[in-house]
Subunit: 271 residues, 2 copies
C-alpha cells in the first residue's frame, strides 16, 4: 500500500502527516489492528520460540532482563484468566495466550545464590523498569506475529486482579503479570479496518510541550472516530465521551484502583 | 541471514531455540543493537512524522492515547538533557532525540473543557497505562527507524531527574518524560554486534512459572556474555556481577530512588 494510503487510513484524509521515507516494515506497522475474534487453528510449530526470540531482541534497561513470559495454551487455564479479564471471549478462542511478567524474582534468586542483597529492588523505579521492558519485549512479539500473518490483542484487564493471575500462574514473590496478549489466526468474519488515531499535532511536540489548537484537533478526531464507528455498526458516540466513560468513575477501573495494594502483596514495595 | 544464524547471534551457539516460521521482519528484529555513537548527518525530511505514525499505530489501552512525544533537535537543549542523563554523549551526537511522555495532562484538559472530573486519573494504574502505552509506541518507532537504516538507543537515565526534564520541556502537570530515545545514523567506527540474551528457558515459562535449571542457564549466560565482552574489549566480568552492581546499592540508581516523589510533584498521586 502506498505510504499516503496507509497514513490516510491511520489519520483520516483530512490529517495526513507529511510523507517521509518508507519501508515494507512501515507498511506492516501502519496496518496494525487489535483482533478480538480468532479461529481455533493451532500455530505452526516453533511459533512461540520465534516470538520470544523477537521479544528478547528488544532493548532492555542495563541488560537486566527483568521480565518473563508465561505461555498459556490449556483451555481451562485460559478460561480462568478470561474470567479475571471480565470474560473477554477471545482469550479462550486464541490458541496461544501470553502473559508478560515484570519479573524481579529472577534477580532476587541471583542475589540469594550470590549471598547478596539488592538495595535497588524495592523501588518504584525498579518495578517500572521491569514493566517497561516487558512492554518493549511484547511489542516486538506483536510485530513479529503480524509479520507471520498472525493477529494479536493486548489484555490489560489481567490487572483487574493481579493476585489471582499470580496465583494461577504460580508466580513467585517479585513477579507480576503486567498484561496478557492473545495470539492467533484472525477470524475473517468481523469487519477489519485500521482504527484512526489522534492527529499528529495533538501528540507530537517540537522542542517543548504545547497544547495550542488541541481542542480543534480533538473535535476533528471525535468526528473521524464517529465515522469509523458508524462503518462498524458500533455506537457512534464521541471519543471524548469514551475517555470520560473510561476514566470518569473509579468503578470503571474494574478493580485496578487496587493495583498498588496488589503489587505490594506480590512483593513490590514501590518505595 | 538464515533464521538459525540470527538465533545463534542472539543466544550463542549452545542455546539456539527451535527454529519456527520466519519472515524478513524477524531478520530485522533479531538484528537489533542499541547504538551509542552517531554521525551528525541530519535525517531525511519527514522521518520524524514517519516514526510518529508508526508509534501511533501501536495498540493503546482503551484507545485512550495517554502519551505524547517531544522531538528535540536543539543542541543546547540536548546538552542539558544529556547532563540529566549522566553526560551520555550520544544524546548530543544524534540529530533527533525523542522524549516519550506519559501524558495524562491532555485527558485532564479534555475533562476541564467538558466540565467533568476524572476520578480514575490519580491511580497508579492510570500512570502505568500511560507509561506502558508510551513504551509500546516507542518500540514501534524503534522498529520503524531500523527499517529505514537508522539506529537508536533508549535513555532511561532521564528518570534520574524527572522534574528537570519536565521543566526543560515545559511539561504541564500530569505529564512526565518516561525515557528518551536517540535516533540517527550509526557511526560505523565502533564494532557492532548483536548482544546475547539469557537462554530462552530462563525467561519462557509454559502454563505456570518455574525456575528449575535456572542456575545452570545463568552460568552459561555469564560465559557467553563474557566472550562477547572480550570480543569488544570491554571488561569481561560476569552478567551476574553487572546485575549486582546495578541493583546492589541505592546509589547506583543515580537519583531514581526519588522517582515516586518526583512523580507526585509532577501531578501523579499514584494512589
Amino acid at each position: 500500500m502506498p505510504a499516503r494510503d496507509a497514513l490516510a487510513a491511520r489519520y483520516g484524509a483530512a490529517h495526513i502527516p507529511p510523507t517521509g521515507p518508507w519501508s515494507p516494515v512501515l507498511d506492516a506497522l501502519l496496518a496494525h489492528r487489535s483482533v478480538r475474534a480468532y479461529r481455533p487453528d493451532p500455530l505452526p510449530e516453533g511459533t512461540l520460540e520465534t516470538l520470544v526470540a523477537a521479544a528478547q531482541s528488544a532493548a532492555t534497561s542495563s541488560n537486566l532482563q527483568t521480565w518473563s513470559v508465561v505461555a498459556v495454551t490449556d483451555p481451562a487455564r485460559k478460561a480462568r484468566l478470561a474470567a479475571v479479564a471480565g470474560g473477554q471471549k477471545h482469550i479462550g478462542q486464541c490458541p496461544l495466550f501470553l502473559v508478560w511478567i515484570a519479573d524481579l524474582s529472577r534477580t532476587t534468586r541471583l542475589a540469594e545464590a550470590e549471598g547478596r542483597t539488592l538495595e535497588g529492588l524495592p523501588y518504584l523505579e525498579t518495578f517500572l523498569v521491569a514493566a517497561l521492558d516487558a512492554a518493549l519485549a511484547a511489542q516486538n512479539a506483536v510485530v513479529a506475529a503480524e509479520s507471520l500473518g498472525l493477529s494479536t490483542v493486548y489484555i490489560g484487564a489481567l490487572r483487574n486482579d493481579a493476585r489471582a493471575v499470580a496465583a494461577e500462574l504460580a508466580l513467585p514473590p517479585g513477579a507480576m503479570g503486567v498484561f496478557g496478549l492473545c495470539v492467533g489466526h484472525a477470524d475473517p468474519a468481523p469487519p477489519a479496518e485500521v482504527k484512526p488515531r489522534l492527529p499528529q499535532p495533538a501528540i507530537l511536540h517540537r522542542e517543548r510541550y504545547g497544547s495550542s489548537g488541541e481542542e480543534a484537533l480533538r473535535a476533528a478526531y471525535d468526528s473521524e472516530l464517529g465515522r469509523f464507528s458508524a462503518r462498524h455498526e458500533m455506537s457512534a458516540y464521541r471519543w471524548t465521551d469514551r475517555v470520560l466513560a473510561r476514566l470518569g468513575r473509579v468503578a470503571a477501573l474494574n478493580g485496578r484502583d487496587g493495583l498498588k495494594d496488589a503489587l505490594r502483596a506480590l512483593g513490590f514495595p514501590l518505595r
